[in-house]
């Protein structure tokens, strides 16, 4: 083979090998680090595979926030208006966390069906509703309307 062609062939095959390794690694890393969002209704219906880390979100129910006086532990309930999930969190809540506000929490379900959060997210803007929560609320309302029409 012509030396220039040969070198080009080596270069191209190296590139292909490199790119496929990179893509493979990326897909693997993606698969391991995805957090899927579930609505309280989906959690209630047992759609979450047990032992998985996932995200749940909704409106913090009025009057549901209970602070432990001695530690940073806090318990609260999020709702998508159809169902609720109880969340436990040990840490400092974000500034925009308050009752009636839409939030997201990341963590796992324990054996009693209580969500143990490792992270609680409330976004920068008080007008902002996490899109996941917004959709969850809409989905719950659709179910409600459906039931009423039955």
């Amino acid at each position: 083979m012509h030396p220039v062609r040969k070198r080009r062939l080596i270069l191209v095959s190296l590139l292909i090998v490199g790119v496929s390794i990179a893509v493979g690694l990326m897909l693997m890393a993606l698969g391991e680090n995805l957090n899927v969002f579930y609505t309280p209704t989906q959690v209630h219906a047992g759609e979450v595979p047990s032992g998985h880390t996932f995200r749940v979100g909704g409106i913090v129910e009025e009057g549901s926030v209970v602070h432990d006086p001695d530690s940073l532990a806090v318990t609260f309930i999020v709702t998508d208006t159809a169902n609720t999930t109880t969340i436990k969190y040990d840490g400092i809540l974000p500034d925009l966390f308050r009752e009636g506000q839409g939030i997201l929490a990341e963590g796992k379900l324990d054996e009693n069906g209580i969500f143990i959060a490792t992270r609680v997210l409330a976004k920068h803007d008080e007008k902002y509703m996490p899109p996941e929560v917004d959709d969850a609320l809409k989905a719950a309302q659709d179910i409600g309307a459906y039931k009423r029409n039955q």
């Binding site: 490199g18 990179a22 690694l25 990326m26 890393a29 993606l30 391991e32 680090n33 995805l34 957090n35 899927v36 969002f37 995200r55 602070h67 006086p69 001695d70 530690s71 940073l72 840490g91 400092i92 809540l93 500034d95 925009l96 966390f97 976004k123 920068h124 803007d125 008080e126 902002y128 899109p131 996941e132 917004d134 959709d135």
Partner: protein, 663 residues
């Protein structure tokens, strides 16, 4: 009346941008000097009108004109002057206006500093910049007009988002936009070269200083943003792999790659096709970034649904810019055949590797950022990609890059032999081993494998960069040696050392940070990393547009008071948002950081976050050093001398040489 003047000026700017986009390009095709000569005046005029428009909006903010919808939504009569001025870019409409205003500024600079370039090149470059301007001004006028009136006028404004009421956030967007928009200049140079079919080392030399300047602003902008997140969000974190951050990081990575491949194109005439492609990609990513962030698409795909015209316009504009450039690229590609050759062991190969690593990093970030959007758009559920994804890909890609940063400059162009390289560098290698072994020994007790890797990379970069500089200096004796080395060499060495400083900051702060979340009230004490934090008292303070709870902390070490710190919890009057103002005590090798969490439900025990963060300020210090390196490189005499030489030849430049078929 002022908002209408602003609106009218924007329309005038659009007209001039249209002229600037069409006439000079037409002239360059026909070889008409008079048509090409339109480019500069049009660019100046456009900038004047954009300035008027921008000042009109600022005027509306400063004078509390709440009959302007945008002002009513993002300002308030109690807002301090500084935030009235920065409030202009506090939300979507105004920040788009800032974008085109800065774009106009860059265009004017190109028009001013291009007198040494051939008229055809100037005409084409300014024309491409004009086209971008047309698209962006149309976007503002049709979908995001900041001058829209509110009838009847609001009594008072809804206030600026309190998170943005901070000096760091006031400066971050304009600096970042200077970088984003600055990448449009190398883009325009690349497109102009593709249109003309002439891509030579002169082209690379013209676009290099512009690219480095844009990169410098981008570096500073990202540094400022990261620093702001650290002290303002109250979490002590400095990088979250948030889509908004990724949007600025991708153009930075590709821009860095572009600077390096431009070096090869300038010095050796190689990689021309790749360099042009990188210029296109870097600017496309910065467009994508601004639009996606600002239109809210990244936080929700449904932002398109809430304002379909805006979303459609963005998609169409991106499609035209990116698609058009790539089609032009494909069409002209055969003229970009490389002429030179290089061996597997050469500076060229190492720079190619550098580019592959940087672009792969940018691509993996892009995938992680838009993957959730694609999944959502396909209706397959809602997911988010966590920081571990980014870390697990980004860090392994960076380690070989750091090794290249050290050794690369010492390797010869075209062809290097292992024997020569060894002879040139073995002294540096020995110095490196000594320094590394000594530092590792000092850290012995606590060094983990990640710390050792970070330390290795940082020391490698510093010792080899200094070794390289030493070799350049040893050609001459005394003071003349320092003058004999060009500014761009100093610039490169400084930028590479800046990177090492950042690596040290990242490594040490992530490995050795200590923190404590705790409930504390006045009189309580807590020990952390040898420091005793005593909560002395809590008091109330009234700011211009907020009320703050101010905690007083006394920090002691070995019984002696070191410093008093006053973290705050503010409630802003208008929006009733709670905001954390962390108290930070910065020393060269460590930060102490206190932020207040939730106020007590009852009693006086606050949730308090205490941090000890070693070397964290090095992260941003390194960013500033990198930008400084960029600045030095731009000041290199080479760009000016070459410019003057060509200016001298310009008299000989006539219409004939313009109409010569450049291919």
């Amino acid at each position: 009346m002022t908002p209408e003047i602003g609106h009218f000026a924007l329309v005038m700017a659009l007209c001039l941008a249209l002229i600037q986009a069409i006439l000079p390009l037409w002239g360059s095709e026909r070889g008409s000097l008079s048509l090409m000569a339109v480019a500069r005046p049009a660019a100046y005029g456009q900038f004047v009108f954009l300035t008027i428009s921008y000042l009109a909006l600022t005027w509306a903010f400063v004078n509390h004109d709440f009959s302007v919808l945008y002002v009513a939504n993002n300002s308030n009569s109690a807002l301090p002057l500084m935030y009235l001025i920065s409030g202009v870019w506090g939300s979507h409409e105004g920040s788009m206006l800032l974008w085109v205003f800065i774009m106009g500024g860059w265009t004017m600079m190109v028009a001013l500093f291009s007198h040494s370039l051939p008229e055809t090149t100037v005409a084409r470059v300014l024309s491409v910049l004009g086209m971008l301007s047309v698209g962006l001004i149309l976007f503002i006028l049709f979908t995001s007009n900041p001058f829209e009136r509110l009838i009847p006028a609001a009594v008072d404004g809804a206030d600026l988002n309190p998170l943005l009421q901070d000096p760091g956030m006031a400066f971050h967007p304009p600096v970042l936009y200077m970088g984003y928009v600055g990448l449009s200049v190398p883009f325009a140079f690349a497109i102009a070269a593709l249109i003309g079919g002439r891509l030579d080392s002169a082209w690379a030399r013209w676009s290099r200083p512009w690219t480095i300047t844009a990169w410098m602003f981008l570096t500073l902008g990202i540094t400022l943003g990261s620093w702001w997140a650290y002290y303002e969000l109250g979490w002590g974190g400095w990088w979250f792999w948030d889509p908004v951050e990724n949007a600025s990081f991708m153009p930075w990575l590709t821009g860095t790659a572009l600077i390096h491949s431009l070096a090869v194109t300038e010095k050796r005439g190689l990689f021309r096709g790749w360099t042009v492609l990188l210029a296109i990609i870097a600017f496309s990513l910065s467009l994508l970034g601004t639009f996606l962030v600002r239109s809210g698409v990244l936080t929700s795909v449904h932002a398109f649904a809430t304002d379909p015209t805006r979303g459609l316009f963005i998609l169409a504009f991106l499609g035209i810019v990116i698609g058009g450039s790539l089609i032009l690229y494909a069409w002209r590609m055969q003229t970009l055949r490389a002429v030179g050759e290089f061996k597997p062991l050469s500076r060229e190969t190492l720079l190619l590797l550098n580019n592959v690593l940087l672009v792969t990093a940018a691509a993996s970030i892009l995938i992680g950022t838009i993957y959730p959007l694609i999944i959502d758009a396909l209706g397959k559920g809602k997911i988010s990609v966590g920081p571990p994804y980014f870390n697990s890909i980004f860090i392994p890609l960076m380690i070989p890059l750091f090794l290249l940063v050290g050794i690369g400059p010492l390797v010869r162009w075209r062809e290097e032999s292992a024997g020569k390289l060894w002879r040139d560098t073995h002294n540096i290698l020995i110095a490196f081993i000594i320094v590394f072994a000594a530092s590792a020994f000092l850290l012995m007790r606590s060094a983990s494998i990640t710390v050792l890797i970070g330390l290795f990379a940082a020391i490698w970069m510093v010792v080899f960069s200094l070794g390289y500089l030493g070799k350049r200096l040893s050609n001459r004796r005394g003071l003349a040696a320092f003058k004999g080395v060009s500014a761009s060499v100093y610039g490169m060495v400084i930028a590479h050392i800046g990177l090492a400083v950042t690596v040290i900051g990242v490594t040490f702060s992530s490995a050795y940070s200590l923190d404590h979340d705790i409930r504390m009230g006045p009189g309580d004490e807590k020990e952390l990393a040898g420091f005793v934090f005593r909560f002395e008292s809590i008091s109330q303070r009234e700011g211009p547009n907020y009320v703050a709870n101010v905690a007083l902390f006394r920090v002691m070490k070995e019984g002696k008071t070191l410093v008093t710190m006053t973290p705050e919890k503010r409630i802003y009057n208008v929006r009733r948002n709670m905001m954390t103002e962390a108290a930070i005590d910065t020393k060269l090798t460590r930060d102490l950081y206190i932020s207040l969490g939730n106020p007590p439900e009852e009693g006086d025990k606050w949730a308090v976050r205490l941090y000890y963060k070693p070397f964290i300020s090095w992260i941003w210090g390194g960013g500033v050093i990198m930008a400084l390196g960029g600045l030095l490189s731009v000041l290199d005499r080479r760009y000016r001398v070459a410019a003057r030489k060509r200016a001298g030849m310009k008299t000989a430049h006539n219409v004939k040489s313009i109409s010569v078929n450049p291919a």
